[in-house]
Symmetry: C2
Subunit: 331 residues, 2 copies
Amino acid sequence: MARLAGVSAKTVSNVVNDYVHVRPATRLKVQDAIELLGYRPNVVARNLKNGRSGVIALAVPELDAPYFAELAHHVVQAAMERGWTVLVDETGQIQDGAVRARERSVVAGIREHLIDGVILNPLALDDADVERYGSVPLVLLGERLGSRLADHVAIDNEAAAAAATRHLVGTGRRRIAVVGAQPPPFGHSARLRLRGYRDALVEAGIRYDPALVVPVLDWRRQPGHDAVATLLALPEPPDAVFCFNDLLALGVLRGLADASLRVPEDVAVVGFDDIEESRFSVPSLTTVSPDKRAIARHAVEHLARRLEPGTWTPEEVRVGWTLEVRGSTGG
Amino acid sequence: MARLAGVSAKTVSNVVNDYVHVRPATRLKVQDAIELLGYRPNVVARNLKNGRSGVIALAVPELDAPYFAELAHHVVQAAMERGWTVLVDETGQIQDGAVRARERSVVAGIREHLIDGVILNPLALDDADVERYGSVPLVLLGERLGSRLADHVAIDNEAAAAAATRHLVGTGRRRIAVVGAQPPPFGHSARLRLRGYRDALVEAGIRYDPALVVPVLDWRRQPGHDAVATLLALPEPPDAVFCFNDLLALGVLRGLADASLRVPEDVAVVGFDDIEESRFSVPSLTTVSPDKRAIARHAVEHLARRLEPGTWTPEEVRVGWTLEVRGSTGG
DNA sequence: TATCCGGTTTCCAGCGCTGTAAACGCTGCG
DNA sequence: CGCAGCGTTTACAGCGCTGGAAACCGGATA
């Protein structure tokens, strides 16, 4: 390459990198040679030199869960604006015993030195894991952890869940069930949402009835669907269901339809996540809508800040949310 | 690192790579040092040496479209089994003028030398682009192109569309509309599906009525929803709708519900893709179900084959599909 | 004309790893 | 006792690139 242009490799490098002191004639010569040979600089070698790859990783439990797919979309977009490429990793579902191991390998950097940083939505990881295995700049999504080694981006789950519950109370519901509770060590989000729900009940002077709390590990449509049977078998079935994510809620909608119950007349349903699907379900779903774009933007931004030289202190970022009132609660 | 263990870097390399001729004692010494230092081999440097990165790229139009999200999920899984990591790129929607440019950059290798190969689901790319810009092993999803530089993995769109149409005819429908037609140069899939539809009509002795063909560029829920108004405004509205993907169909379901039409009693609906959502819609959606797992597996497998030394000839892979009959056609 | 000077280019080294060839050290045979 | 032969380890070079320093070059200055 350099030979064809009759210059040294360094000069080629200078041209490619827009170094100022290159005589126009030389630059042209080099550019011609580049064109002629279809030469492309080898990014890998460049990375080896400067220790940066321009690739960040996004690790989510499952790409085929709409919430994560939508989030991934926004992260890819935000990263593109910075000239970064996103490498996507799946860490697996909550029931899968290997989740934690995979999450550890993610905070350890996946393919070491190949990625500049990681955005991780953890399910099973704990603080100790991060301290122990962490070796790349890390941004955690969700409120699970308190690590001092990572930034955190999340919404206020408790407040959002309370708002959703309050909304149901406001439409006159009294027996409000919950679908999606999870036992420790999993489900930090689930616990926060449950707490918000209880707080709102107390606030409204409604007794908290554990029978109305349906535990579900796997937050997908089918388990949501199945939860309906459990709830309808109660001596006093609920008049509303607050689901800890939209997929559960969509399963519940379907289950209620199968049981010939009308939504929202007989039972109101609220979800969490505001995936696109929820705007088009029949009936459309009232749901908590986290600002996903903001989550993605902040995550990428904090990763960027972390990569810049200088001191860095971990930050907690609280992102906004809204309650989208739609057909499933009579909106 | 090597110093701590008191051996040369090469010996460390040998240990890490499980080279046979390393004395057990030496191996232990090195492993201790590795453990102690938390040493991780630098993949980038290794790649520089052997020209492989173990990373493949998957490029799809939009990650937040469920079909692509599910496909991505399967590709990530299939790649993991081979020890590969997947880098995900979004090329954008069909209306976006930049799609073609982005697809070109994908076949050119995205970050040159960083990825070993590409699996691309093209929208706007043409053969000439591949010939001209192609510079990495490439597997194309869908039947758009005939390039001799890439493997192709696809289902028989025409046959599947014909089967879907035949099914509607079989349930007694006569005015079968189509939602999702696309004009050239876009929508090769759309054209194949339209052809299958026409063939099936002809076969059943039903006249092809262009008024029943609704063109839609953007195959998502909202445009599907909007198409309902167009169809209901016809002098003779349809008694069935064949949508070219599930999102359109879900939008149509919603639109019909809004118009107080019953599905399937008044209008039957069929989709294409069999995304998970379609199993839980109300009513559940009859749809063409391409074997996504097989698509992913074949794509990864062919990329692998391509990377092996030896001669390679492009292959056309036809993957299976089924028609899932559900509630929206009275199943 | 000699010197200086700033712009331009090349030289050199090294990022961390591994293939190759050569060196080393031990065993066992002649 | 010497050396072949084998198993083990090291030295060296180079993958393609870039930072830094040195070298080069032509014109301005003394």
